[in-house]
Amino acid sequence: MSQVAPAIEFRKVSKWFGDFRVLSEVDLKIGKGEKVVVCGPSGSGKSTLVRCINQLERHQQGDILLGGTTVAGNAAHIRGIRRRVGMVFQQFNLYPHMTALENCCVAQRLVAWRSRTEAEDVARAYLERVRIADKAGSYPHQLSGGQQQRVAIARALCMQSEVLLFDEPTSALDPEMIREVLDVMVTLAGDGLTMVCVTHEMGFARQVADKIVFMDHGRIVEEGAPSDFFRQQKTDRAREFLAQILH
């Protein structure tokens, strides 16, 4: 099995914003179907790490491989990579001028070249999946934050990509809506999708993650199974961080 390429692999990846080094020599392997939770203090580079996978941010050194292919390249190559990677954002980023159903159909039509009926069937199936099928005809401003984020998850699922990235999916939500989004994510985790999730929700991490990655100052400081990570942190930095977010 050692010949099977990991779903995602970082090889000595570095990135700078001007003089500031956001990622330094990051090495990381994520297996097919693995659920990885990335955590760390703000400014530690965790969002950037995830955004480099689909090249919303370009890295300057090292290599990122998606199923064995390097993600860096020209615009057409990057579009091909993005076709294989779905993303859910902190601010949902639903298209405000489109209904939930239309939000789910645009990329299916323009990127996957599905017919209108096929796209709508797929969209309805995934809206059902995130338990919001009854809101298919609603516009984003008519939905609560939790509902919007679930539509955004359905939109990403519609592309049936290999990997799903979550960039702090519950950070912009009111506390009472976090649960409904996490519940959806937990059910997805049972599906064999590869998931990379930046989050501070340690309950979620404990429940679904195969691996926890703790970052600080652009480096991966700790990496391991949640059971180990929560029982015994190897670094002071991780210990302090956990103490802060758990209390």
Binding site: N54, L56, A75, R79, G80, R82, R83, V85, G86, M87, F89, Q91, N93, L94, Y95, P96, H97, V106, A107, L110, V111, Y139, H141, A152, R155, A156, M159
Partner: protein
Amino acid sequence: MSQFTTWGIVSTIIGKLPWTLCLSLIAFLGGAVVASLLTLLTTLGSRLADACVSMVIATIQSMPLLMLMFLCFFGLPLLQVNVSPLLAASVALIAFTAAFLTETWRAALKAVPRGQWEAAMASGMKHGDTLRVIVLPQAVRIATPGTVGFLVQVVKATALASIVGFMEITRAGTVLNNITYRPFLIFAIIGALYMAINLPISLLARRLERRFTFNN
């Protein structure tokens, strides 16, 4: 001298109304076409193009519209280009309109949150598709009230064309006033005509504003 009855004055002025409307339309549509091209130029991501567009806009906006008209009317003939008052006024008004609309539309494009671009691009959409299907429809909503509102400014600005001798309602008014010397009647009629054109436009702009801000 007074072969002009009151009715004669009114009908003479109204007779020139099509020219005011015509010049307004030329300015607005011409300006919109030029502004579309300039705005499109700024979406290509070239800094040079962006800077050039900014400079052109700044130049036009720093000049009084009247100077633009004089430049066209008196300047172009020096370059062996023959210009009628209509052409000079049109060119100046198109430049004036294009500068304002380009600025408005550019701002509207920038007002669409970056997350919209990111969501679309992250799903594998092309830059052009993202612009066309995701960003432009939102920018149009943002820009529409201001754009319609600006039409009022354009209609009023056509009055300046009277100075280079273009016979629209204001020019008709000054000529009639020189003959009959009935300024109150004449300019009240002209003012009422401008109001009749502009009031509905203003109301429409205000309604659009309310509608589009509610929906976001």
